[in-house]
Amino acid sequence: MARWSMVIDLDRCTGCQACVVACQVENNVPPAGADQAAAGRTISWMRLAPFQNGEHGTRPDLKLVPIPCMHCDHPPCIKVCPVKATQIGEEGLVAQVYPRCIGCRYCTTACPYTVRQFNWRRPEWPQPMERGLSPDVSVRPRGVVEKCSFCHHRLQRAKDKVSAENRPLREGDYVPACVESCPAEAMVFGDLDDPRSNVTRLSQSPRAFRLLEELGTEPKVIYLSKGEWGGEV
């Protein structure tokens, strides 16, 4: 059974935000509009958080760190969901089942990475964009929580394709939109249970670390960096 994981190499990442845009388009994430943005209600499944790299007193070196859902092996969000609308699957993906969600937002509070967002409004797109929505991802109604899914609709498609070709899933068959879009090739995606996969190899690098590891959430997004780390700015 696969255990899907993403590696983000911060030494390669230029902070260009191609992943942010690719994600927005791929997953039918609606633009917030000026008033919602002012109220802090934008939705973004992939955001860049500014971190300070290096010791205090030295020349400040800002790093923009891409933060998707960590798809933790021990996700704090699923423990607080009163209706089991968020669950971890056999392959380690943390699912958000929109028709089940009642919008209580316990999970948005429980997530230490703050990647969960609430739909305060019915989503709307400027006119011609509505026709460009992807049919592979359902549009979330008002009143439910959403978050990065590791583009699991791409996994559904990939499994469907390889089953018709009568072959097993191979590395590269399933890759989320952000990883695919990264021009610096700073992101790698694959199966952490496959000893020969790129993510497994990279996860053993001395540069590898995870965010808030001390909480015991066992995130499956792994960062690579040779720098020393200060806090989030």
Binding site: G89, S138, H152, L155, A164
Partner: protein, 193 residues
Amino acid sequence: MNARDEQKSAVPEAGPTHKWHHPGRWGAVIIGFLAFTVISATAAVTLQDRIFRRPVEQPIKFNHKLHVEDNQLGCSTCHEYYEKETFSGLPDPDVCAFCHSEKQGDSEEEARLVKMIADGEALEWKSLFRQPPHVFYSHRRHVLVAKLECKTCHGDIASTTAPPTRVTKLRMQDCIDCHHQKNVSTDCTTCHR
């Protein structure tokens, strides 16, 4: 006896509670009304499709039995994609034109079809068998890979003589029951998106 006990004993015994044992006329009216509400709400929920939705009309009253059973056409003549894609597809007029560019019999419905084909009109079939957009379903996975028969899920559509008029869908329980039986994944992410 302290002040609080004194206060308590000043309250008359049995108070208004005895009224509950005798609902009286108003009570009966309220209970009747509640019963009426519950019954009509249940009826509305179970029959909502029949009460609130009009039957859907297709551009042509297509007859599956006549084509499939009497004329031995395979399903893939008209539903081309179930072995290649997630969907099955509904037929273009060219498919019908193969036989109906000229009249085959003397039914009025067929005459109408022949005229539509001659005028180059599109046949806009309404798909009535569908899942909500948050569900991923694949025909090739179930038909080509799992080798299931159409009638397992679509029932006896092949021997119907007129198109269905209402939306039909598989309930989640139908999908899950079979997945359990055949040992297929029932993770939420398997089907939901």
